[in-house]
Each structure stands twice: as C-alpha cells, then as structure tokens.
C-alpha cells in the first residue's frame, strides 16, 4: 500500500457514512464533518440513522449508529444513495452498512475493533478481510485505537477516556482524504471541552491531527480529493434539521403575526425535538406545555388559540390518531391551529424511528363528520421553516386548523439553510375583533373567515362549542337547513384557501411526456433523479404540490397535459388515490414501504421503466 501520493483529485459529490457502536460518537463525527464542509462552501445534506433500540448491547448489529452525508460542489438534494466512503468503527457497523456501499467504494475500519468477540457479536463467521467478501471495495484497515492511544499517551488520560478519542482520529483521516480544514473542528473542541476539561480538549485535538497526519504521511491512500465550493447564494447560513426548522418557523410565524406562540405537545418519536427546541425559547415568550397525552396536547393548544395564541401542536402518526376528535372541535370552532405531524412508519406503533409518508389519508380524512381541513407538506429540512410559516398563514387567515406534514427523514436530516431576514418577510395579518357593536361570532369576511374575539376583550362575551351552530350568531342550532348552510360554508372556506396557493411550478420540461409528481419529503430524491436524467437529455417534468388540501386550482389541468404521471410515495398509494378521486386520472404508482427514504437511483429506475413502457 505504499504508493506515492498524487495530487488531490477533484470530485463533484461525495457520500460518506460514519458508522459505529452507539457509544462511538458517530453522530458527533458526522456533524463535525458536516459543519466543516458547510463552512468550506459545499452544499450538503445529512441523515442520521439511529438504532431503534433503547440502548442495544455494545457491539451488536442493533446497536449500530450511523450518520450519512452527501457534500458537493453542486446543488445537493439528498444525503446520497450509496456511500462512496464508509468509516466503520467496529464489525457490526461494517456488517450493517457495507451492503449500501458503492462498488469500488472506500472502507476505513478500526482494525483494533475487529476482535473475535466483536466479530462474533456482529455475526461474522469468517474474517471479512480475508474471506473475499470485501473484494468489491477498497479497504483501508487502520489500527485506529492503537494509533489514537499513542498520539495522546503523553496526556496520561485514563484508558476509557483515551479510547473515546478514536472517532477524532478517524475524522482527522477523512479530513485529510477530502482536504478539509481542521480549524472548525478544533475550535468546536475547544469551546466544548476547553474550559471544563482542557485535557480532553487537548486529547481530541491531538487525535484529530494524528488522524490527519496519518493520511498525509503514511500514503496508504493513493491520493486525496478536493470538492470545490458550491455555487450557493451569498448570505448567512446555518445547519437545520427539519424539527429545528419547524420550531424556527413557528417562532417566526408568531412574530410575523404579532401574536404569542403556544405549543401543547406530548413527546413522541420523531417529533419530540420540536418540543425540546421550543421549550428552550422561554426568553422569547414562547410557552410550551408538556401535556399528559396527545389529546391534552391539542386541547391545550385549542384553549390557547381561543385565548389568542398562535397555537401549535406537534406529534407523529399514533399521536395524530388521538387528536382527531379535537381536530373536529377546532374545525367547528373555526379557530386557528397548526398541527404538525412528523410521519413515521405505521401502522400502529409500527417503525417508530423510521420514515414514511403514510399519514396523508389520516390527515385528510380522520375526523367524524364532514370536517374539511387544509393539509400541507414540507419538502426538505430547510423547507420545514417555510412550510410552517405557510401553515400559520393559512390558519390565521382562514381561522382554521391546518395539518402540516413532515416526516422522520426531514425531521432528523439536516442541510445548510440560508437564514432569512425577518424584516423582509411578508407579515401575517391578524386582526382581533374588539367592537361589540353588531358583533356576531360567526359572521364572515370575504375569505369566509370568522372574527377572533378573545377572552379579556370588553363587551365581546360570547359562547362557542362543538354543537352545530346557527349561521352568523353561533348559537346552538338543530335547524336542518342551517346545517346544510354551515356544512357548505365550512367546505367552501377551505376551498377558498386555493386563493392563496401560487401557480403550480412545473420544474424541468413543460413539454415532457412524463411528469414525476411527488409530495413532501421525497422531493430531494425525485428532484435529484429528474436532474440526473435531464442531464442525460431525457425530457422530464417534476411537480411537487405543497398543498394537498385543497389541491391547487391549476393542478388538474397541468397533470392532464402530460401523457403519463409517475407518483413515487412512501406508502401504498395515498396521493395517487387522492389525485384519481379529484381528477379521475390514473397515475403510475411507485410505492415503497421500507422505513427508508427513496434513493435517487430508485426513482431513476422507476422513471426509466415508465419511459420504456411509453416507448
């Protein structure tokens, strides 16, 4: 392996997976690589892949924790289908991840972790390094543990602590491999450990540099790589996960509306981080209420909305199931409320830590009676910010509960995100009713939206409730004709939300025969696949409506303009059903239920299959 080092080679995009035991610090390693790459100007996208077990026994397959990212000198849509590089800190990690690796991909392993015991735990019956099973890859087995211990020996740290530094050694080696600068991680280490445990700070920095120098000096890699800056817009950037972005979006929406934010929520994977995030914003006046269950979560939000809050409740599938009765109440009360549902694998408890898009039906239809409600979906971690603001905009303008769908993939994945200037964003107009003169709780404006008259406002006392109400006055009414009127009004109001939906964007070739339609979190994979094929000269369009209810006014006509529609969904065909019900069109369905996001390559294959069929 002692070839002569060559000059760094330029690559466009690289996908790396860091994998190790839950205790190996892989999330941190991945995050450091991400941040360094971000600062160095690459576009990128990440996806952490936690073990779904509580804390599976060390060394087992169930205990493997992974972090994958794609970084690039071009626009990036997903965390990458198949890694070019796999860093595997133990046999279990190798076993779990190697199948995903690209042919001829690079594997870096900690040779020291491949003890008999660990091999056993991972279920290796023969040595993968010698049995030929890794022949398709370029394997670099480095004694990472030993080298780390050597590098920091001088500090005299206890063995257990010293061993923990090995992920920085690995990171250093990969930094060299992709010509990353060390300074960002070094200053992170300093700020994290410097003050409290300077020796740990020192150790980690030593390990990082040792790993870097190992790459530089040993020449075990034939060469290293550079990835140029991506042509991104100027401005201030940060990294956000989808869950953070929802939190940021909610705070921003409340600010734009000039009202205060209230979150009522009950923890549930993978939505809990929104609750965590917002409970840190007390200094901005944000009130979070950790309720006893999901029902109380939404009900407390209803109570707060009733009292004038920008009210939010957050959950995932099984939690949404519990909220549906109260969603009906919010519908008939006609009060603003945003319900964020971070979709996960179902049915029932299902696959709690895995992603899916199978709550569209639930969001559209899970209420007793005819109870129409706007439903939106976010398309990327950063888009969760914009989608949340949009959801509040609808809720506050139309005095209605709104469902915002994200998913486990968006929620946990992250990407660079350009920080907007709030002062440049469009305000959300809110007007509280204050004039008792002629006040009627169910009178309506031109949007068919009713007044928001909150407790504490002199002279505005009135009663609302879940029984059908008389048009205009809001009194209880069992009048048959009135029920029809109110049902029609409620439906018409939600239909009117179409007024604020911009013209549907048809990305790519408007004159293509095939359009790929998607919704929500599959955006990245679809856009990547479409770009990939268009770059090869294939004519294709990509349509990705944000609003799933009401559907955009122009959507039916646009879809009708294509010979064929391909609709990939991480479910059994829910949007396909909705589109057919609305437009009578049959689409080509591509459904996957594996608890994992789509890969670009899967979509590419599906598109090719359609094109072939179309001749």
């Amino acid at each position: 392996m002692s070839e002569v080092a060559k000059a760094p080679q330029t690559l466009e995009s690289v996908t790396i997976r860091f994998a190790g035991d839950s205790g190996d610090g892989m999330q941190l390693t991945g995050t450091q690589f991400t941040e360094t790459s971000a600062v160095m100007g690459n576009d990128l996208s990440t996806f952490p892949d936690f073990p779904s077990e509580i804390r599976a026994p060390a060394g087992t397959l169930a205990g493997v924790s992974g972090f994958q990212l794609q970084f690039s000198s071009q626009e990036v849509h997903t965390h990458g289908d198949a890694p070019d590089v796999l860093v595997a800190m133990n046999p279990a990690a190798l076993k779990v991840a190697v199948g995903d690796l690209k042919e001829n991909g690079i594997i870096i392993v900690d040779r020291d972790a491949f003890t008999d015991k660990n091999m056993n735990l991972a279920g290796y019956e023969s040595d993968p390094f010698s049995d030929g099973s890794l022949a398709a890859y370029r394997v670099f087995d480095i004694e990472i543990t030993k080298l780390t211990l050597n590098a920091i020996q001088e500090l005299g740290l206890p063995q257990k602590q010293a061993v923990r530094c090995k992920n920085f050694f690995a990171l250093g080696t990969v930094y060299w491999l992709f010509s990353r600068e060390l300074q960002y991680t070094e200053s992170w280490i300093e700020s994290k450990f410097g003050a409290k445990t300077p020796s740990l700070a020192k150790a980690n920095k030593l390990a990082l540099n040792a790993g870097y120098n190992y790459g530089l000096n040993t020449h075990i890699f034939p060469n290293n790589y550079v990835i140029a800056q991506a042509p991104v817009e100027k401005g201030l950037y940060r990294k956000v996960t989808g869950n953070e972005a929802v939190g940021l979006g909610a705070v921003t929406a409340a600010e734009l509306a000039g009202v205060e934010l209230f979150l009522g929520s009950y923890p549930i994977t993978p939505a809990s981080e929104i609750l965590h995030f917002l409970s840190h914003q007390r200094h901005l006046g944000v009130k979070t209420f950790q309720a006893e269950d999901e029902i109380a979560g939404i009900c407390s939000a209803i109570g707060a909305s009733y009292a004038g809050a920008a009210a939010l409740t957050t959950t995932s599938g099984p939690g949404l199931a519990l909220k549906t009765e109260a969603m009906g109440l919010a519908t008939i009360l006609e009060i603003p409320l945003v319900i964020v549902n971070v979709q996960r694998g179902g049915p029932s408890t299902g696959l709690p830590t895995k992603t899916e898009q199978s709550d569209l039906f639930q969001s559209l239809f899970a209420r007793n009676g005819d109870s129409p409600m706007p439903v939106l979906a976010a398309t990327s971690p950063g888009d969760c910010f914009w989608a949340t603001i949009e959801a509040f905009r609808v809720a506050l303008r139309y005095m209605t509960p709104v469902v915002l769908l994200t998913d486990g993939y968006l929620a946990q994945g992250s990407a660079p995100w350009k920080v907007p200037q709030i002062s440049e964003l469009e305000k959300i107009p809110v007007e509280f009713a204050t004039d008792p003169e002629g006040f009627q709780p169910y009178a309506r404006n031109e949007d068919l939206s009713r007044p928001w008259a909150i407790p504490g406002t002199p002279g505005m006392m009135h009663r609302v409730g879940g029984l059908e109400k008389q048009n205009i006055t809001g009194h209880v009414s069992h009048d048959p004709a009135n029920h029809q009127v109110m049902s029609d009004l409620r439906a018409e109001k939600i239909r009117k939300v179409q007024d604020m939906i911009p013209a549907t964007e048809v990305y790519g070739d408007a004159d293509a025969k095939l359009a790929v339609v998607g919704w929500g979190g599959s955006f990245g994979a679809i856009r990547g696949a479409v770009d990939h094929l268009r770059a090869q000269g294939v004519k294709l369009a990509h349509i990705h409506p944000r609003f799933l209810n009401p559907l955009p006014k122009d959507l039916g006509e646009i879809l009708a303009g294509f010979d064929r529609i391909l609709l990939p969904e991480l479910n059994m065909g829910q949007l396909a059903y909705v589109l057919r019900a609305n437009y009578g069109i049959e689409v080509a369905r591509y459904n996957k239920l594996e608890g994992k996001p789509f890969k670009e390559a899967e979509i590419v294959t599906a598109i090719r299959a359609q094109l072939e069929e179309m001749g």
């Binding site: 940060r238 009202v259 707060a304 109260a326 002199p458 002279g459």
Partner: protein
Amino acid sequence: MSNYPIFEPTDPSGLTRKSFVSNQEVRWCPGCGDYAVLASVQKVLPELGIPQEDFVFISGIGCSSRFPYYMETFGMHSIHGRAPAIASGTKAFRPNLNVWVMTGDGDGLSIGGNHLIHAIRRNIGLKIILFNNRIYGLTKGQYSPTSEMGKKSKSSPMGTVDYPFNPISVALGTGGTFVARTMDANPKHMQEVLKAAALHEGTAFVEVLQNCVIFNDGAFTDVTSRQSRGENTLDLVDGKPLLFGNKNEKGIILDKKMRPQVVKVDEVGLENILVHDADNEAMAFMLSHMTIPNHPVPMGVFRSVARPSYEQLLEDQINTAKAKKPNASVQSLLESGYTWRVE
C-alpha cells in the same frame, strides 16, 4: 410588534347577578340541581372584583356542561371530558383570565379523568366544579364512575359491579391544593365554597352533590334534605373542631388506630375533639372516607394550602429567561447555532 388589543378593563364594581345571565333559554329539566349551581355562580362572580370580560367558562359534554351557554361570559362548550385540558391551555397562555371548568361525574371522572387529575397535579389555576349526580344525565341514565356499587341503570340492569370513585379522595390523592364539597340544596353553603374556590391560587376542585330528577332522583336526599342535613353532615371549618348534629352536640375524635369515631362532645370534652386542619392531607383523606350511616358526611373545604400555581411558575420562568437575554430577538434565534457566511 404585538397585534393584541389593548384595553382598559371594565369596572367590575357595577356587576350584579343579572350581568352574568346570558340571553339563552336555560334548558335543564325542571327541578334539576344544575339550576342551583347556575344561580350561585351568578351570585358569586360579581363579588369577586374581576372585570366581566376576564371570566371564561369551559365545559365538556353532559347536562351540566351546557352551563357556559347560560353565562354572560366568554365560554366554550367543548368535547366530552376535555375541558380541563382546554382550560389549561387558556389559563397557561393568559394567566390573568379567571377560568372555570364546569363538568359532570361522567365528563370529569370517566372520560375526562386523566385531564382532571393532571390539572390538579399541576396546580394550574382552574376552578373546577364537578356536578356529581352519580349518573350520566345527557345520555339518559347509564351509571357513572360515582354511581354506588350495585346501582341499577340502563347499562347495568342487574346492578353495577364497579366500585365508585370518591371524588374528594381522587382530588386529594392526585395532589389537590383546594378540595371542597358542597350541595345543590344549600345555596348559601355553595356560594361560600365557590367564593373560596374562586379566590384560591392554583387548582380549586369543588364537588357539588347535584340531584338529577329524571334519572337518579333523590341520590343525595339523606345528606341534602333540610331534615337530615344537621345529623348527616359535618361542616368543615379550618382550625375548628369537627362538630356536627343539630346542636353541634357530636364530634369526631381519632382512636389509637387512627380511625375517626363519633362521640358526644359532652362525654369527651370539646378539647379532645379533632380540630380540622385544611393543611393536613391525611386528615382530609380520612374525612373524605366518612359517610353515612357510620359517620356524618363532611361538607366544605377538606383541604386548602397555598402553593405557587403552574401558570405563575411558568410566567416567572419566562421573566427570568427574558431578563437573562434582554436583547434576544427572533432574528437572533434564527442566526444562532452553527452558522457560516457565504460571501
């Protein structure tokens, strides 16, 4: 920039009982105990010195839960069992509102049990009035979680096999800081209790023994009728001995096994009668288990202790956080975390 309207609160001094009567026809059965509660609440509110627009009445579903319609206040007739959860949002968001939860034994203790006990646990400043008629009135006569064991009802033709909740014990067991019982038949008592409840910081839980003339008539007659009230009930007064009987000639002492015994005061001496201590949860709990025929049924405030309320603690936390970051803004939050600038 806030969009909230800013107002001078209205002057509460001119409020009367009538101020709180809404324009909706009251639709309980003639003779229903709910009327008495309505009248008492309408009597008490003007005495509290609170602007009318600051009152909010939130209920679930049930006969008793129609209460808000009849009040000229803000009100919500919500869904079955959820009033404490909704009201918690209202109160946590706007601590200055005076928020009442009107609920039934089914609404509050059956489907809504969890929200009720969590509201109590949090000591959030709701006034929870539980109309206990030991029956589901609105759905026409099924037994409820407070129906006595063996009760025959539409859904228990051979009698229930369910032991009932004791609402006072439930409230004490879940940490109630203000726990009281009153009855529809004694408006004066009710008004005193309601007033004390209204003035309590934190959750005030009041059980009202309420007669459902249609589906469970006379459920509490032994306790509520004028004739037997003196002998069968005991008025709780903090710091005062536990006396009852038409001439207060009987009292309660504690035996060595820590059980309450009825004694004649002149036989044991007034100084040996147990003194009610509203700050002693074990005593309150013991009292909550006293019932006829062996003991009188205690009425009034079982427990009342001062504890900071949930909403106050939340408000304090927010103020502390704001004080620590006086320059915080949403823009600065957006710009926080790991950032970098692309030039």
